[in-house]
């Protein structure tokens, strides 16, 4: 086993033999898990309207939950307002005006909680990254934070 690796290492000097030689090498233990980066085209089952993440179906009532929206605004001030305005003006990231009509609730909540995976995969997120050039930070939002932020976005978009 160890001799094999040495052989592989030697042969690597003669052939550019890809990344295969490094796999299964002793004596390492667990490795940094790296998400496979598949594009939307490479993964036909991907639903671009929902995005990728834990939210599959978000129940959105017709009327605004004001208390929830207020809670969302507090989170917005701490974790989002550095980069997003509530108008349609771009700051670091896009302005929030109209965001709830551009994306589904599921897409938004998945994007804000599973940011890196979505930036690596989702066509709409990638298009936005090309404009802003700053990868949106994962702000480690709890599920209910994500939901109340969404409610605040709805309020910002005129839902009463």
């Amino acid at each position: 086993m160890k001799k094999t690796i040495l052989m592989l290492a030697i042969s690597a000097a003669f052939y550019a033999c890809g990344g295969g030689a490094g796999t299964n090498v002793e004596p390492t233990t667990g490795a940094a898990s790296t998400e496979p980066t598949t594009t939307a085209s490479g993964n036909p089952s991907y639903d671009p309207n929902r995005g990728e993440g834990k939210f599959t179906k978000v129940d959105v009532p017709a009327n605004l939950d004001k208390a929830m929206a207020d809670k969302g605004e507090k989170t917005f001030q701490v974790k989002c307002a550095s980069c997003h305005k509530t108008t349609d003006e771009k700051l670091v990231g896009p302005g929030w005006k109209g965001v709830t009509s551009r994306h589904s609730a599921e897409w938004i909540m998945n994007f804000i909680t599973n940011t890196d995976a979505m930036l690596n995969k989702d066509p709409k997120a990638q298009a936005q990254l090309e404009i802003c050039l700053v990868r949106m930070p994962n702000q480690n939002l709890a599920d209910d934070d994500a939901r109340s932020l969404y409610e605040y976005m709805r309020e910002n978009d005129g839902v009463k």
């Binding site: 040495l6 090498v25 490795a31 700053v134």
Partner: protein, 666 residues
């Protein structure tokens, strides 16, 4: 020191020890061809062990991965570190406070990982400071120093910070005996025998929070205490300290402390000491020492000066302390995994004595005394001895264990590690080190459960091992595979400072507990700014507090005006990021201290004196995004007494004084 290489070679030649040849082997003959594959850790793969290595005169602790020998991190403990803001930010300055005031440096020799039931539990690692005696606790979820406690009545805290098998106590023994802190120290030096005492500190460690308190000190005869290790298993409840200079010399110790044939290993029955303490036999002594703690919720350290310690006098209170004679200035004091055998290593001895705990108990019971030393019973050497390792090498220093009944002892003068069997004291193998090995480390090698896969030798002399870098060379560490019968050298790697003792542990015991960021909601720093809407600048007299946020990739505020020459400006910078590995840095032109490195969710403060009128830029020093080079700002300093109003903003050109847009020129 480094000239001793020639002395070493000469020493080997003259004594004609049992290994082959007279010149040190070179790496070609010492390294087998499969060594590379044994230490190769592929890119993106993790090492199997963490190796925590003391930094010696750097004052810090370095963390390596094994078997690769890759440096993962340097954790600042006792020395300031401008790179990380340690000792420069307002929040961390109190960590380096002592009864002597702010002390920016120390000499860090030994480390011990916390244990539960004699096994490494991966919670904390303890570190000693030699020069200004202190003990630190580093939290292994953050790899940051959480607590530092100073030791009164001490000087040269060397036999420290060794722990008991459930981390009940971490100990500290003074190298220099000195007059006690409440006595007049202004006495002639040659009154050593009369006025100088040796104090051993037992620091209790909180079971849940790790909080350290000096539970009691033992007032012992004036000698030099050197190293120590706790009993374990059957000998739990006892602690063993080597001591030299039983001659009580106060000058030219090199000669005068090497007169007697035997010095001592001091056996301390700390359970007995606890009983005396409970019975109120301790004396309250007036002292001054600092106790510093770093709070991960406020992200702020506090320093408190304590004024009292409880002292137990071991000459008055019988049954706490016994001396076991140990040849020739013993250094290492190592207890095997069963707790039965105590190995003493006399620096000048031609043998390694191994003491038996069972025999020691019997000798105490039988009062098998050879006499007394300053009122402390000295047990008879023969009645406590398990046996001697004969002709082991020259200059024995330290011993670790593999859990398979074998011990590994380093030999400084003959530059080698010798493997021997504890039961019959037979030498099994020896390998050269390059050169003059001091400490050694086996993962868990001083616990009840060693992992006898690797051994690391920490060498004092490097000479020709690496490309020359002028007169000073990085000290070398050497990794040996000890899983087979024969030890095999498989890697050299350089270290920081001068490594002394080290610890290693399976990565799985620490890896998954690592903190990735601090929750901004839980940030209780007095000067936290939770969101840009709260960012502000507040003037109080000539003090200006800037409540600043940062996130990829801008500061808020990033334009500040209305600050005057002579003002004391405090930049309280909160990192609003909530993701792993996104610290931001903060540096401002002319700052006479360091930078800040602010972890996600954390607040750190840099004090900056507005020296003179002008424009002073500040920027982020830790590359954070594609637009990191845009992460910057200005503070305008006006003459003292001028009328410029206090203004602060981000993203607004206020006041809009300059309305002409830039034009491209031909």
């Amino acid at each position: 020191m480094r000239n001793q290489l020639s002395f070493l070679i000469a020493g080997i030649c003259i004594t004609g020890l049992s290994f082959q040849g007279c010149k040190p082997k070179n790496s070609a003959s010492a390294v087998n061809s499969d060594a590379a594959s044994k230490v190769y850790v592929a890119p993106g793969k993790y090492d199997e062990f963490y190796n925590f290595v003391s930094g010696g005169f750097s004052g810090q602790m370095s963390v390596y991965g094994l078997p690769s020998g890759r440096l993962l991190r340097v954790v600042p403990i006792f020395s300031v570190d401008p790179e990380k803001g340690w000792g420069y930010s307002e929040e961390t300055k109190p960590m380096l406070n002592t009864s002597h005031g702010f002390v920016p440096w120390d000499d860090q020799h030994h480390l011990d990982l916390s244990q539960t039931n004699g096994e490494i539990d991966g919670r904390w690692i303890f570190a000693n400071a030699n020069n200004t005696p202190r003990v630190a606790r580093v939290d292994l979820t953050t790899f940051r120093t959480s607590e530092i406690i100073e030791l009164p009545n001490s000087a040269g805290n060397h036999s420290s910070p060794f722990i008991t098998e459930n981390t009940e106590y971490v100990v500290a023994g003074t190298r220099f005996s000195v007059p006690p802190d409440d006595a007049n120290g202004d006495v002639p030096i040659n009154t050593y025998r009369k006025n100088f005492k040796g104090y051993i500190s037992f620091i209790s460690v909180g079971k849940e929070d790790g909080n350290m308190e000096i539970a009691f000190q033992l007032k012992c005869p004036g000698v030099n205490f050197d190293l120590s290790h706790a009993g374990k298993g059957k000998s739990h409840g006892w602690f063993f300290f080597t001591c030299y200079n039983s001659e009580q010399a106060n000058t030219l110790l090199e000669v005068n402390a090497s007169q007697r044939d035997k010095d001592f290993i001091m056996a301390v029955n700390w359970k007995k000491a606890e009983e005396y303490l409970k019975a109120g036999k301790g004396r309250k002594q007036s002292v001054r020492y600092a106790h510093n703690k770093y709070d991960e919720k406020t992200h702020t350290a506090t320093s408190e000066i304590r004024t009292e310690v409880t002292v137990l006098d071991v000459a008055e209170l019988k049954d706490i302390v016994y001396f076991m004679p140990c040849p020739k200035s013993p250094h290492g004091c190592d207890v095997d995994p069963t707790g039965e055998y105590i190995v003493g290593s006399g620096k000048l001895a031609a043998l390694v004595p191994v003491f038996s705990f069972t025999k020691m108990l019997k000798a105490i019971e039988d009062k098998s005394y050879a006499g007394d030393y300053e009122g402390i019973p000295v047990l008879k050497y023969e009645s406590v001895l398990h046996g001697e390792v004969k002709k082991p090498g020259l200059g024995p220093l330290h011993t670790e264990f593999d859990g398979r009944g074998n011990a590994y002892t380093t030999f400084f003068v003959s530059s080698e590690v010798v493997k021997w069997r504890i039961s019959d004291l037979q030498i099994l193998d020896r390998v050269p080190t390059y050169y003059s090995v001091g400490h050694l480390c086996i993962p868990g090698g001083d616990s009840r459960k060693p992992n006898g896969k690797y051994l690391i030798a920490y060498n004092k002399i490097t000479k020709d091992r690496y490309l020359p870098t002028g007169p000073e060379l990085a000290q070398s560490a050497q990794l040996y595979d000890i899983s087979g019968d024969k030890m095999q050298l498989i890697l050299d790697f350089p270290t920081i400072g001068e490594p002394h003792y080290a610890q290693a542990v399976e990565a799985s015991k620490i890896r998954d507990k690592s903190v990735k960021f601090f929750k901004i909601e839980e940030n209780m720093n007095k000067y936290v700014t939770k969101g840009e809407a709260e960012s502000k600048v507040v003037r109080t007299g000539n003090r200006v507090d800037v409540y600043m946020t940062c996130i990829r990739s801008h500061f808020a505020p990033d334009n500040i005006e209305g600050v005057f020459a002579g003002d004391e400006v405090y930049f309280h910078v909160t990192n609003l990021e909530q993701d792993w590995d996104v610290p931001h840095g903060f540096a401002i032109k002319g700052a006479d201290n360091g930078e800040l490195l602010i972890m996600p969710g954390e607040t750190q403060t840099l004090k900056w004196i507005a020296e003179k009128p002008g424009m002073f830029p500040f920027y982020c020093t830790d590359f954070c995004s594609a637009l990191h080079q845009e992460m910057q700002g200005y503070i305008r300093i006006s003459p003292a007494g001028s009328k410029v109003p206090l203004l602060f903003s981000t993203g607004k050109n206020m006041p809009a004084a300059d309305t002409s847009a830039p034009v491209a020129r031909k």
